[in-house]
């Protein structure tokens, strides 16, 4: 819970954001990372900077942070795809850290997840990593609970198909 001492009516107290930062920063970095952000920390930092500029913190600013992380990552994704097409020099070089950290049997799922359309991937990550309810996911993504349900089930089906194809 965030204490609400407003010494400025226009911006949240830096201390409040600092508390929130300590509690939630890593979660936001990881959320951006799982959604496929090219620079997860930059996205998480931007989300916190926007929170500071937004004005007084609401009762629970965490859903706001998650929404911003999702939106920023989705938009940058699109830029990435465009630039990859327009920009010819692509050098494929698997990063050694990733290879070492992600276990072999997880790697295929992670790869299949990366191939999902952005919104489907968001629904899957919010559901199975953050364990959010359909309603919470709907709020975060700005869609209806029905859309969340269908995105999750289609996402799961696509992941299952991808695993079978590899097996």
């Amino acid at each position: 819970m965030i204490s609400q001492q407003a010494n400025s009516p226009l911006r949240p107290d830096d201390d409040d954001v600092a508390v929130l930062f300590r509690a939630r920063y890593l979660e936001m970095v990881r959320l951006a990372g799982l959604l496929g952000a090219d620079d997860p920390e930059d996205i998480a930092q931007e989300a916190f900077a926007r929170l500071m500029r937004k004005g007084p913190l609401g009762d629970d600013p965490v859903p706001y942070l998650r929404t911003i992380v999702c939106n920023l990552t989705r938009n940058r994704h699109r830029h990435l795809r465009v630039v990859r097409e327009k920009t010819p020099r692509t050098v494929s070089e698997p990063s050694p850290e990733h290879a070492a950290i992600v276990r072999e049997d997880h790697a295929e799922l992670v790869a299949a997840l990366a191939a999902l359309p952005a919104r489907r991937r968001e629904a899957i990550v919010l559901r199975f990593w953050l364990d959010l309810s359909e309603r919470e996911i709907a709020t975060t993504m700005g869609v209806s609970p029905g859309t969340v349900k269908s995105q999750v089930s289609r996402g799961l089906a696509a992941l299952a198909r991808a695993l079978e194809a590899k097996a």
Binding site: V29, G33, A49, R78, P88, R89, A114, A118, L159
Partner: protein, 365 residues
């Protein structure tokens, strides 16, 4: 939600993958720096007369994906190990024959060849000794321009032969491959709305493939600044407003490192008139749509974007996340390009568009 057989495995994989991302010790300082930078920008908005200074536009184009694409060449790492721009590189050569799509004079053809040669030189791609001994990488041969370079740079060279017409357009409708259209159809003229509904964008298709669907035959069809247009970009479909800022107003384009990520962007400087037009547009977008983006209104998320359009294709569609006027313009924090990619794009934009568009008539090795 019903349980699915792969659910357990998926949870484990996500938990394990999440461990790969960690927080850097200076994260809090970075957040405060971002906040301070954005506050300064908003102040400068009111202090710099709109017409006085040229506007610096940081076009935030993007960079690295996990495990593919540009990985391994991000920012400082790329600088340490350049993958292009090494004049000592050798290898098989390629000759790309560029045929003008419209009738041109000999002078225009020569001017186009000169511009393409300059772009190649500025982009840092190696110029072969044979080409360097005469005019440059591109020379006029009969009715065509022939572009010579390393076979490994073929697609980079083809990119540099693009006409290079830049437009900034407000995004009115956007429809990703996997989702519904968002935006505001009421802002789109009926004829353009019909084209938007008809158009099917497929990831990976060529520009001509989508252009033909809507009867776009010549550069004038997608470059017309007064007209609303449709566009495809990697499977995402757009309806875009008339152009606010034109490429001719770009007075400077340079690759620039972006702080704090250490990646690269193209910094554009536009003249005073364009700066005013841009400030009017972004102020309007920020006032009208930004607060909606913070509450997850997907129509506002779309309408808060200005598309950076190169030769009819949306390069990026950054959100307007502050009142932007007069001074330094930052559209979404620059995620950056590789140094090589930023150099190539800057080279293409620096001296304005080619006098004529070319199509690739043939490639010989």
């Amino acid at each position: 939600m019903k349980s699915h057989p792969i659910e357990g495995q998926l949870r484990d994989a996500l938990a394990a993958r999440a461990e790969a991302f960690s927080a850097s010790p200076d994260a809090w300082q970075q957040i405060q720096a971002k906040d301070a930078r954005l506050s300064r920008q908003r102040h400068s908005t009111f202090m710099i007369p709109a017409a006085a200074a040229a506007t610096v536009v940081a076009v935030a184009l993007s960079a690295t994906a996990l495990g593919h694409g540009f990985s391994g060449t991000v920012g400082h790492r790329a600088a340490a190990r350049p993958v292009t721009g090494n004049p000592a590189r050798t290898g098989r050569t390629v000759e790309i024959t560029l045929s003008p799509v419209a009738r041109v004079s000999a002078d225009q053809l020569a001017a186009a060849a000169r511009l393409i040669s300059e772009r190649v030189a500025r982009s840092g791609l190696p110029v072969l000794p044979a080409a360097a001994s005469h005019a440059g990488a591109a020379t006029v041969v009969g009715p065509n321009v022939v572009l010579t370079g390393l076979a490994a740079d073929k697609s980079a060279l083809e990119g540099l032969a693009g006409m290079g017409v830049l437009r900034f357009r407000h995004v009115l409708l956007e429809e990703p491959a996997d989702g519904p259209a968002n935006g505001d159809a009421n802002l789109v003229r009926p004829g353009v709305l019909r084209l938007f509904r008809k158009l099917v964008c497929t990831p990976g298709e060529s520009d001509t493939a989508w252009q033909q669907q809507v009867g776009y035959m010549a550069p004038a069809d997608w470059n017309d600044p007064a007209a609303q247009v449709v566009s495809c970009s990697s499977g995402t479909k757009y309806a875009l407003d008339a152009a606010t800022v034109l490429g001719q107003e770009v007075t400077r384009a340079v690759p620039a490192p972006s702080r704090p990520s250490g990646q690269w962007v193209v910094a554009l400087t536009v003249n005073g008139a364009a700066a005013s037009a841009f400030s009017a547009l972004t102020t309007h977008l920020y006032k009208t749509y930004f607060s909606g983006t913070t509450t997850g209104n997907q129509n506002d998320v779309v309408l808060d974007q200005v598309a950076v359009v190169l030769d009819g294709t949306v390069l990026s569609a950054p959100e307007t996340d502050g009142t932007i006027a007069g001074g330094r313009l930052e559209i979404s924090p620059p995620a950056g390009l590789t140094r090589a990619a930023a150099s190539a794009l800057a080279a293409e934009l620096r001296d304005g568009p080619l006098p004529v568009a070319f199509r690739i008539a043939g490639t010989a090795r």
